[in-house]
């Protein structure tokens, strides 16, 4: 094991899969000459050439569609959006084509493609650039949605995603790219399966469920709660589709309390889906209503104090857990 950054872990995953399978290529804005808007693709153009690392004009619907068409006919594209906000321009391609080709063709066509980009708010980039899109895409049957929070998961899950035969929505985090963590050596070829949540911290008093950047907030809030005598079990879902509810249910049956944390809006969000599954499968085990700590139900404002209010904070998580434990 060595320590590398989340961004480097992603870079290694793409490079290893391109090395392994000639059908894999990377396409998107600024992925080549510029080395990636967030430097995830640094060095790949030099290593693999412009046949396989392809800079595009600003034409998201176009290059997403080209990716889908190439995937349908035998290639394995990795499509980078500069951020997930811009995928909304390509929403039709992803929803109407990538997610539908297989069923409409009676299973004759598959779409082995990965769409990847940073997801969620960065810092003060305002309403049009702060979308957390998991609810939008997890809603769609035909797509899988993956959201790693650590360098190790980022690498192992991206490698799995690239080898997957289905369209994958791969949610990275601008605020995670610099995060360092242990990742197996390059030759380990670790593949982390989709749909397996990871218990990041064990605890008996309350289950905290999160993914992506909010997983780290859940961890730091649980450290504060521990000082107050409340031990949280923190679950990193890692993928939202397939959704590993079994791990969540098992934990809730032990802790009898649950709080879900996510950056995206509350209405119809993944938290709501989890609440439904938990109340169905662990109703008798619950000692308190399930809490949700989400981004507030507003488009993201620019001003930093307001942005900080809108996004989940440690304080809000602590409060929600204490409420679930009837200490507030």
């Amino acid at each position: 094991m060595r320590e590398i950054r989340y961004r480097e872990a992603l870079n290694e995953a793409i490079a290893e899969e391109m090395e392994r399978d000639e059908r894999v290529f990377l396409i998107g804005e600024e992925v080549g000459h510029y080395q990636g808007a967030y430097k995830v693709s640094a060095g790949l153009l030099e290593r693999f050439g412009d046949r396989r690392v392809i800079d595009t004009p600003i034409a998201e619907a176009g290059f997403a569609g080209v990716g889908i068409g190439a995937a349908m006919t035998g290639l394995r594209p990795v499509v980078e959006f500069m951020t997930w906000n811009f995928s909304l321009v390509a929403f039709d391609q992803i929803v109407n084509n990538a997610a539908k080709a297989r069923l409409m063709s009676g299973g004759a066509i598959s779409v082995p493609i990965v769409f990847r980009a940073p997801n969620g708010a960065a810092k003060q980039v305002a309403a049009q650039h702060s979308h957390a899109v998991e609810a939008l895409y997890a809603h769609i049957p035909g797509l899988y949605v993956v959201a790693p929070s650590t360098p190790r998961d980022a690498k192992g899950l991206l490698k799995t995603a690239i080898r997957s035969d289905d369209p994958i929505i791969f949610l990275e985090g601008e605020l995670l790219y610099n995060l360092k963590g242990e990742v197996p050596d390059a030759d380990a070829d670790e593949l982390i399966p989709l749909g397996e949540a990871r218990v990041g911290r064990e605890g008996a008093d309350c289950t905290l469920v999160a993914w992506g950047p909010s997983y780290h907030r859940a961890l730091s809030a649980s450290a504060k709660l521990s000082e107050q005598g409340i031990e949280c079990e923190v679950i990193d879902l890692r993928s939202l589709r397939p959704l590993d509810s079994a791990t969540v249910i098992e934990s809730v049956r032990k802790t009898n309390r649950c709080v879900i944390v996510h950056d995206t809006w509350p209405y119809g969000g993944p938290g709501a889906e989890l609440v439904d599954r938990i109340q169905r499968d662990a109703f008798d085990y619950l000692d308190a209503p399930i809490g949700r700590v989400t981004g507030h139900d507003v488009p993201m404002p620019y001003a930093s104090e307001l942005e900080a209010q809108v996004l989940p904070t440690d304080e809000r998580i602590v409060k929600a857990v204490r409420r679930a434990a009837y200490q507030e």
């Binding site: 305002a126 049009q128 001003a303 104090e305 307001l306």
Partner: protein
């Protein structure tokens, strides 16, 4: 303001243009400084080098004409008359900002002056501008719409669909492509198969015009002609203006994709310096221009001081700005 066919520019008007271009320049230099000090967050896209376009275009418009711009919007907002205080306060995320701290640098709005933003998704605002032009025609109003965007935007679907509709319906609109040569780090030859972007206008049945944009008077004259066509019912014009941004794409772009020599070459056509030289040629004294510069410096210093001291953006404004009508809802 434009006055039909007569577009001769007086020394007085040129002086006003100089003052405005210098205002934009100094506004952005100070904004860059404030960004480095952490007083401004998010993305900050500077217009430095392109000032003649906003100023020349604004001069060709009437106050009730509509204007749409991208995230690179400070110059256009100021040229249309937005007070520097309101613009700077917005960049600082303050309640006295033109968008009350909700939008920031990329989302300046000044509806009173018919400046309809400040938009962040490339190509996304082009159809909105066509919509404003549609409204003016629908209401039989004598109003023209001008929509600005970069050359990078001419590759995205939103641009093409808006052009398609505007051409079909002969809407009273002028599309202004500010071709600053780069879309973020990508030079135009790697994004577009043609050099002359007005070829794209032909396919939509509209007039094209193409020129270099460091001379504010030239911009003004060409815009007057296009605006007159739109006003006269002759339909839209697509204008490609060759320009250059002297800074990176945004504050986070070190612009390593181009050489210092290239940037220096373009700086020889600095629109502010060109206008200054023209005024000197026209007999205006260095002293008089230095006085203008000093007044502009004062204005910008005051804008920074205002933005520093202004009250922060308010939560209530945020909550009240999501919907026009809110309904009491449990939870």
């Amino acid at each position: 303001m434009a006055n039909g066919g007569d577009v001769a520019v007086s020394t007085e008007a040129l002086q006003a243009h100089y003052r405005m271009m210098q205002t934009i320049r100094r506004f952005e230099e100070e904004a860059a400084r404030a960004y480095a000090q952490g007083k401004i967050g998010g993305f900050l896209h500077l217009y430095i080098g392109q000032e003649a376009i906003a100023v020349g275009a604004a001069a060709a418009l009437r106050p009730d004409d509509y204007v749409f711009q991208t995230y690179r919007d400070h110059g256009t907002a100021l040229a249309l008359g937005m007070p520097a205080d309101a613009a700077m306060a917005e960049l600082f995320g303050k309640d006295t900002g033109c968008s009350r701290g909700m939008g920031g640098s990329m989302h300046l709005f000044d509806v009173e002056r018919n400046f309809y933003g400040g938009w962040g998704i490339v190509g996304g605002h082009v159809a909105l501008a066509a919509g404003a032009a549609f409204k003016a025609r629908y209401q039989r109003e004598d109003r023209v719409t001008v929509c600005f965007f970069g050359e990078g935007a001419t590759n995205i679907g939103g641009f093409h669909e808006a052009m398609s509709l505007a051409g079909l319906w002969k809407l009273p609109i002028v599309f202004v492509c500010e071709n600053n040569q780069y879309a973020m780090g990508t030079p135009m030859e790697r994004t577009t198969a043609i050099r002359d972007l007005t070829l794209k206008a032909q396919g939509y049945g509209m007039q094209g015009d193409r020129f270099e944009g460091s001379d504010v008077t030239r911009v003004y004259e060409h815009l007057c002609a296009a605006v007159d066509r739109a006003r006269g019912g002759e339909g839209p014009t697509f204008i490609e203006i060759e320009t250059y941004r002297f800074r990176g794409h945004s504050m986070s772009d070190p612009a390593k994709y181009r050489s210092q020599e290239e940037v220096d070459e373009h700086k020889k056509r600095d629109p502010v310096a060109i206008t200054r030289a023209q005024l000197i040629d026209a007999g205006v004294s260095e002293d008089a221009l230095d006085d203008v510069d000093a007044e502009v410096d004062e204005l910008i210093d005051a804008a920074i001081a205002h933005a520093d001291e202004a009250p922060p953006a308010k939560q209530q404004v945020m909550l009240d700005s999501v919907y026009v009508t809110t309904y009491p809802e449990a939870g």
